[in-house]
Structures are given as structure tokens and as C-alpha cells.
Symmetry: C2
Subunit: 206 residues, 2 copies
């Protein structure tokens, strides 16, 4: 069975970079936007449309806030969300079982639980997240000042948490749902990647 | 300045073993009971008496439950607790600054915060903790059946949490207070030790 690493991460914590470095060092497949691309290939929907129903989409399309109570709202959007989640889950399973891989976000830790992935959660303090966002000029925070970046970080993470908790019935960021949790504040992402690669390689030696 | 690793841990999670292995592999000093020994050397108190006021002592001597409210209880025991904590803090600082080291428990992550230790928190699920306690025949759980072991694990961790939160004003086990959090459930402690050793050694290479 292929080996799988899942990366859950706070926005701006460097989780994606960490995942990419781990995949590169191990020579494993790396799945992030690739999942959306694969989903779009297999349906008539565009990537943009599908994205709007996932953890990275705008909050307005996400009926999660109503979904756990009796829901009278936009049933169509709600059904569509669940449909996209199901499509995404199936896509993730298919891709993960092809070869050893690192998967970013998308509740993959939960979706792939029967395959015992190494579940990593990446986080950092706000100062460090703001600094990373400003330095990287990421799409979501481009041109924003520090105050606006903080607001955006909180918004993105709130959405990730709600999305995760709605679909997994687990608490996002609760240590019991992860194998290793990494605080990237003041840490060198390269050193952290090496650390995790060592763990995987040492296990392969056993 | 010496490099320091602090290990906070849930009872039965294998944190002590992990710390010992890391220290051995790195050739660093390892401080656990050694701290109590050093404290006893520098005072007229016995190790047992001192231990009764620390995180590993029996709960009955620990006035923490009253300490944050207006305290009418045993003022002598309360003063003694604070005095022992101060002695322990000074001892930990002295020992930590002598050479690179790994320190187990005792709020060392907080006490040594100005020296930027690598703060590790070790935890695991209850089944795994029970299994480890039964296999190791630890002093605290010797001769107990599974149900009693679970009760003891909860008791010890409740005490550690209260002790930590009283003296540090931080939440025990909250990810923001640690650099790496390790779930030992189903994991090989040796592989985890190698992983952390790699991180430290990679940093030394920089």
C-alpha cells in the first residue's frame, strides 16, 4: 500500500512549502491544486466552480453555518457542496492509492483514515504568519496592509475549520487528530522538512 | 549558549523514553529525577519531601485548587509549594546552562523561555497509554488492572495540567506553547527520536 502524508495547516504557516519540500526530498507525488484539476477533468464543472465549494472557496457559497441545524436556506448550494465533497473524496482516494504522496488540506487526513496516513498539522503564531504572507505576496493577501492580512488569515482559517469540522465531525487543530504538530514560528522550514523525511525513511528501514 | 530541549508529556505517552533516546543520541545531558536530587543536595529537605510539592507529588499536598481563588486553607503548604517551585526553577536554570541538555517536565519550557528551548509535547491516545503502562509496570500503576490504570493516568495528567497552568499561566497541551507535538500512538519511539535528532543536527549544520 502506498505511504501517505497529509498536511493540515493554518493559513500563512508555511504548511504548503513544508509539504512540497517533503515530497521533493522523498521523491513522492505532491497533491494540492492537482486535486481540483483532476476533479475538473472528470466532470463538466470548471475548476473555479468546484473550488467555490471547497475549503478554499469564498464563505458566501458555503452553507456550513446552517447545515448542522434544521436547514431552510439554499438547498441547492448545500446539496452541491456535499456533492463536490464526495467527488473530492473519491478523487483524493484514487490519487493517494496510485503512489506514495503528500496531500495538502481538503480533510485528506480524515478521508484517508483507513490507509493510516502520517497526519501532520502545521501552525505558527500570528506575527510569523503575517510576516510570511507579506513576504510571499500570496494571491489572497496581495496588496493588503498588516491589519488586513490579519483579518484575511483569520477568515481563511475560520473557513478551513468550519469546513473540516462539518465534514469530519472532528475538531480542526485538536492534537488527537494528528500524529505530528509543527509550530513553524522562528523555525527553518528546510530543517523541519528534513526532520519529517528522516522519520519516514527510518520507518522504511525497519 | 547551550541548546535545550524540553519535554512535556502525558503520563504513559513515552515522553520520558523519547527524551532519554534523544539525549543519548545527541550526547546531551538528560535531566529528570536528577533535578530533584540536585535540589535535595542544596537544601536540608529530603527528595521525597521536595517531590511532594512538585508535579509528581500526591495531589493532597498541592493547594493549587484553591490558589487562584481567595485562599483560606493551609497557608504553610501553599508557601512551601511556591518556595519549592522557586528552588526548582533556579536549579533547572543552573543545570540547563551548564551544557546542551534534555529536560523532562517541571514547566521547564516556561522556566527557560528566555533561552528558547525546543519545546516538545508528547501525547497519545488512551489505549496506547494504558498498553504502555501495563507493559512497563511503572511504579505508579504497578499491580493495577486496566480500569485502575486509566483512572491513574487521568489523575496524574490532571495534576500535571493544574501544576503547569498554576505556575505558567499557560494552557498545558495547547499547541501554541510548543514547537513540536508528537502523538506516540502506534508510532515507534526510536523513529521519533531519530526524527527530532535530525532536526537538531540539521540546525547545527546551518
Amino acid at each position: 500500500m502506498p505511504k501517505i502524508i497529509t498536511i493540515s495547516r493554518e493559513f500563512g504557516s508555511g504548511g504548503r512549502e513544508l509539504g512540497r519540500r517533503i515530497a521533493d526530498e522523498l521523491g513522492w507525488a505532491y497533491y494540492d491544486q492537482e486535486i481540483l484539476h483532476e476533479m475538473a477533468k472528470n466532470t463538466d464543472y470548471s475548476k473555479e466552480y468546484l473550488a467555490s465549494f471547497t475549503e478554499s472557496g469564498p464563505v458566501r457559497l458555503m452553507p456550513i453555518t446552517y447545515a448542522h441545524s434544521f436547514y431552510h436556506g439554499n438547498q441547492g448550494a448545500f446539496d452541491q457542496s456535499v456533492e463536490v465533497f464526495t467527488l473530492q473524496s473519491n478523487t483524493i482516494k484514487q490519487m493517494a492509492l496510485k503512489s506514495d504522496c503528500v496531500i495538502i488540506g481538503r480533510c485528506a487526513d480524515y478521508i484517508l483514515r483507513d490507509y493510516h496516513p502520517l497526519r501532520i498539522f502545521v501552525y505558527s503564531n500570528m506575527a510569523s504568519k503575517v510576516e510570511r504572507c507579506l513576504a510571499r505576496n500570496e494571491e489572497k493577501t496581495q496588496g493588503l496592509d498588516e491589519k488586513a492580512v490579519i483579518k484575511e488569515i483569520k477568515k481563511v482559517d475560520k473557513r478551513r475549520r468550519k469546513y473540516y469540522e462539518f465534514y469530519t465531525y472532528q475538531k480542526w487543530g485538536d492534537r488527537n487528530n494528528y500524529d505530528v504538530m509543527i509550530n513553524t514560528s522562528g523555525q527553518d522550514i528546510k530543517a523541519l522538512a528534513k526532520m519529517l523525511v528522516t522519520k519516514v525513511m527510518h520507518e522504511e528501514d525497519q
